[in-house]
């Protein structure tokens, strides 16, 4: 790498990730109260493991949309079909909307533990 380039290697997140994920295969964040919704009436569930970030979005009376981001390839799959850059933006927008409109007290993190 050449000096002067703006390059940030965020080893911190990797290391913390290793610690956090050491005894689980996934973490899932959602409202603790299943009846609770975001201000627009929709629901969002965020999940991640070492390979993927998943965001599930459900608007009332519409089918749910499952955004699956591959952390290694950078590719996105939406409802099991290849997605586009616009889908990535939408996923980010939904994640931000979820964060901005949910209180810490309303959320729960589910830690998924493997067999064996």
């Amino acid at each position: 790498m050449k000096r002067g380039d703006v390059k940030l290697a965020w080893a911190e997140s990797r290391l913390w990730y290793t610690v956090i994920m050491s005894n689980s295969i996934a973490k899932i964040v959602q409202f603790s109260d299943e009846s609770k919704t975001l201000p627009d009436g929709s629901k969002v569930i965020y999940a991640e493991n070492e390979e993927k970030i998943v965001l599930y979005h459900k608007v009332p009376f519409e089918p749910g949309v499952n955004y699956v981001y591959d952390r290694k390839t950078g590719e996105i799959v939406v409802n099991a079909k290849p997605g586009t850059l616009a889908d990535k933006r939408k996923m980010l927008q939904l994640g931000t909307y979820f964060l901005e409109n949910s209180k810490e007290d309303d959320l729960v993190t589910l830690d998924v533990h493997p067999k064996g």
């Binding site: 940030l8 390839t73 810490e104």
Partner: protein
Amino acid sequence: MRPQGPGSDPSVGRHMKSEGFSNVLQGLGINPRDISSISQLKGMALEMNLGDAQYIQLNQSTEEALKSMGIPNATLAMVLSGSDEVDRLKKRLKEIQESMINKEDMKSIFSLLGVEFDQEALAFQDSEGGILLVRSGLDEILED
């Protein structure tokens, strides 16, 4: 992939009744049968990767975009949504810069982790014990 039945923990079956939960498990490629238990923590017990700053692994399109901005050979890109985030980043980098740890200690840590230590890299330890590498450009960011 449809759920193939709950694991040994009754709470697994309860969660699987949620369409959203089973969908995200499917997205993660996790078979419900491989789950032994699900523990529950209040609040958000992880650093969500979709916040103000999103760290993304470069693919061809982002690499091309960075090249067009005169930033070739980047390995990671950080996307910030506004000037507030840039200001927060600058403040954070200053805090980190002030907490620079002994380089010899850092060498040992990297050695244990199997990571090659780049002498030109600036390595810091933040207040929460995480390790942050800032490879060049730090001064330029702070002075910008």
